[in-house]
Symmetry: C2
Subunit: 197 residues, 2 copies
């Protein structure tokens, strides 16, 4: 129905996460309305992305610049005894923003759904065990999401990390700041009660 | 927080319709995980988009190929007496799929919100009047969306098209196929009653 070069781009954008064919079509028509300069800027940025960005050899976070380690992992002032495991790259940012965590990270590469053990292959389990097993690491924080997948992943990680004999902690679950009891769901309130102190 | 080339791409994707910075970040991490070939394919398709796609001189629909007119407008078997006005490019496709309309189209370029007369500048009003005023056109179908903006636009179009003295019709509003009375909203049911026959 659309001309071939539009169809091609719709197909490519449809592979993006959360994007279906309709949204993909809206993207293409947005680009057709944009200036030539804007579209060229996007095309060039994409063309240069893969060569500009490297993956940190320790934590798997993408970075730019010299060496094999990202800014966090090569910073000697970061606490070398703590390792925080997150599901994906975008989960690291909010933790960094709190400025409360000064250790290193490990990006697991995904989460485990309760019913699909195929997901296991996606996770960097071996690399994680190699990092968490290093003798300088004293505590491993499991910072998975508070979702079914995140909780399954946390259970799995606890199981495989336990034999290392190090301290394992998890992010607290409870009422969010500003959260009112009246509007809290039972699960959240249950976690808040369990975690009371 | 992210490396510069990732930040740049997040900024560019954030300008896409329906995309915020979080979704944009997910897009970039999806691309970082994709193969070099896939990212190159996307970059190349984008780089070639603007030169490959032309806008039809009659209906403003994008097309590829020779000449100044799109496939629909240059097809002599299309009914030259009917003109169907749609808000945007993506609205033409579902109408074509019905195979019930064999006339030509006109892409208005947007809709009018009730409170912002600035939107008027976006609409191809002059071009529309030039097309709808051609002597071969006998009927103009206003096929705007069944939304507040679409209805405002339809009212506006009726007002400016009326002086041409041609037949003006609008898409019927009513129960969607498979729609149950019990679950229909009052507006829809009201339209279905008004349009009964």
């Amino acid at each position: 129905m659309y001309p071939p070069s539009i169809q091609k781009l719709i197909a490519l954008f449809s592979k993006f996460p959360t994007v279906g064919p309709r949204t993909a079509a809206r993207f293409v028509f947005y680009l057709l309305k944009s200036s030539d300069t804007e579209v060229k800027e996007l095309a060039d940025s994409l063309a240069g992305l893969k060569s500009a960005v490297k993956q940190c050899l320790f934590c798997f976070n993408p970075f730019e610049g010299e060496g094999d380690l990202c800014e966090i992992c090569r910073n000697p002032r970061r606490n070398q005894t703590m390792l925080c495991i997150v599901e994906k790259e975008t989960d690291l940012v909010p933790i960094e923003k709190t400025k409360k965590y000064l250790g290193r990270y490990f990006i697991l590469g995904g989460a485990l759904s309760r019913f699909n053990r195929e997901d296991l292959k996606e996770l960097r389990t071996e690399a994680l065990l190699a990092r968490a097993g290093q003798k300088e690491i004293l505590e491993t924080i499991i910072a998975t999401n508070s979702t079914t997948e995140g909780e399954s992943t946390a259970l799995y990680l606890e199981r495989i990390l336990k034999p290392l004999g190090k301290k394992i902690t998890k992010l607290a679950r409870g009422l969010p700041l500003g959260g009112e009891l009246e509007y809290a769901d039972e699960e959240t309130l249950g976690s808040a009660l369990d975690g009371r102190k």
